[in-house]
Amino acid sequence: MGAAQAHQSTDATTGPDSVVVRGVGKRFATKTGDVSALEGIDLTVAAGEFVSLIGPSGCGKSTLLRLIADLDSPTSGTVEVFGKPAARARRDQDYGIAFQQAGLLPWRTVAANIALPLELHGAGAAERKARVAELAELVGLTDFADRHPDQLSGGMQQRVAIARAMAERPRLLLMDEPFGALDEMTRERMQAELARLAAETGAAVVFVTHSIPEAVFLSDRIVVMSPRPGRITDVIETGFGKDAARDESLREAPSFFDRVTAVREALHGTPVPTTGREQR
């Protein structure tokens, strides 16, 4: 990408492409016959790149994310994560995932929830404690570490989910509409947090959303999809650059609105006057 690197130069922003999807299709068998959720998907996510998947309901964006996470397998085509098949990447724990419902375990405290992946993969108690403290501070929930999820607001629960997703310092983050259940103000705050975290750790992110401003604010590239069958219709570069400040001033910049319009028109299928957008 550009010569400007993130503050910490980690391996994450260089190296093999984090996700390579080639010719992927996914069919589901239902009572009324087969449904083609995805067809002919080709997508590459570079190391350290933030890519959003956007489209109307039923366009397969969540299905595609699940295929990358090896929560489902494609009926055709291949999915590679860091040069390995998706199944092996999952077994090697190369990514962290956050779902729309935070999916916290209600009987564990915030700290225990963040520690979950560390526990499962055999980290020692002292190491777990240190890492959990670090992550809680990263998402600003140090004072709430001993609370249970039912004592937290939706936004706070999502922050715990994101902290948990980052627990093992993954080079790839998969997020399925994590802010979908939040109100607009909380949402904008969380977007700024996520942008900061992604930049600090240099992780690549594949982010599913159906909010256009959210996609434009967060991403380097926006993949526009359409339903029946799910396929990629457009890829739009935001072109803000790696060292652009992703904060409130960005939301009010003319280039922001220009990109939002470009994405909206791509979603609606209207022909677009050229404004430097890459066609696919």
Binding site: R66, A69, D70, L71, Q93, F99, L105, W107, L120, P149
Partner: protein
């Protein structure tokens, strides 16, 4: 919709006062029927007469309870353990589930106590086994049904999470499936507790060794000592209550640590 304007404090007080008032009213009506209306003591002993018999036969009542109570407890424990094991197998293998579902459904609707006479002849008339077995069978059904339901309540998002961690089957079971199932299990045990007591008691009616609250009730009734029979009945109610409250307390304590609860 009545009483919509009560404060939470008033509501709490009323919830306690209402049943107490009803109980006192019932007691008063009972005493009234016996003393004023003059319903014969033979048919309906007065509360006072029952209390007197309770005091007089205290040690005998205690002895009888020491037979029925442990029978019920053994039945409850054995039934619960077997139910948990079978439910775990049924949740894991469809074959086990297919075989056990119709049998458990049948078990839930047939009079289990019908087995009592045959069990007594199989195990000898000096064995408490028949009563314990009946109590175990009676406890088995609600614990099995509720535990199986609980084991199936794992939310899809938690299952996906465990898969994304490449967690082994044991890890998934320990971190997600088991804590989710626990409230349901405890609800089942609570339901089973009073069933175990009643079953152990009723099973005594069908023969077997002397002693036990059920035998005592039937012998007292047979000799027309109705006040004494009711004294034993009061003891039986107390035993049932103790079982119910103990299991309800355990359920409450565990549910406080696990905000997601099971339903009946």
């Amino acid at each position: 919709m009545s009483g919509a304007a009560w404060t939470p404090a008033t509501e709490r007080r009323l919830r306690v006062i209402a049943p107490v008032l009803v109980g006192l009213a019932g007691l008063a009506l009972w005493q009234f029927l016996v003393s004023v209306v003059g319903v014969s003591d033979y048919l309906l002993p007065s509360p006072a007469a029952i209390a007197q018999q309770f005091a007089e036969f205290g040690p005998a009542i205690w002895q009888a309870a020491l037979i029925t109570g442990p029978n019920a407890l053994i039945g409850l424990v054995v039934g619960t353990v077997l139910a948990i094991l079978l439910a775990a197998l049924a949740a894991r293998w469809h074959a086990v589930d297919g075989m056990s579902a119709p049998i458990v459904a049948a078990l839930a609707v047939v009079p289990i106590v019908a087995l009592a006479p045959v069990l007594n002849s199989m195990f000898g008339s000096d064995s408490q086994f028949g009563r314990q077995a009946i109590a175990a069978l009676a406890s088995f059904v609600p614990v099995f049904i509720n535990t199986l339901r609980g084991l199936r309540q794992t939310r899809p998002v938690h299952r996906d999470l465990m898969r994304s961690y490449a967690a082994t089957g044991t890890q998934s079971f320990r971190t997600v499936t088991l804590p989710t199932a626990l409230p349901y299990l405890l609800t089942g045990v609570r339901i089973a507790s009073s069933l175990a007591v009643i079953s152990a008691l009723v099973a005594e009616y069908f023969g077997g060794p002397r002693g036990g609250l059920g035998s005592a009730i039937s012998t007292s009734a047979a000799t027309s000592a109705y006040a004494r029979a009711w004294a034993y009945v009061v003891a039986a109610i107390v035993v049932g209550l103790i079982f119910y409250l103990a299991t309800a307390l355990i359920e409450r304590l565990v549910l406080r640590r696990i905000p997601v609860g099971g339903t009946q």
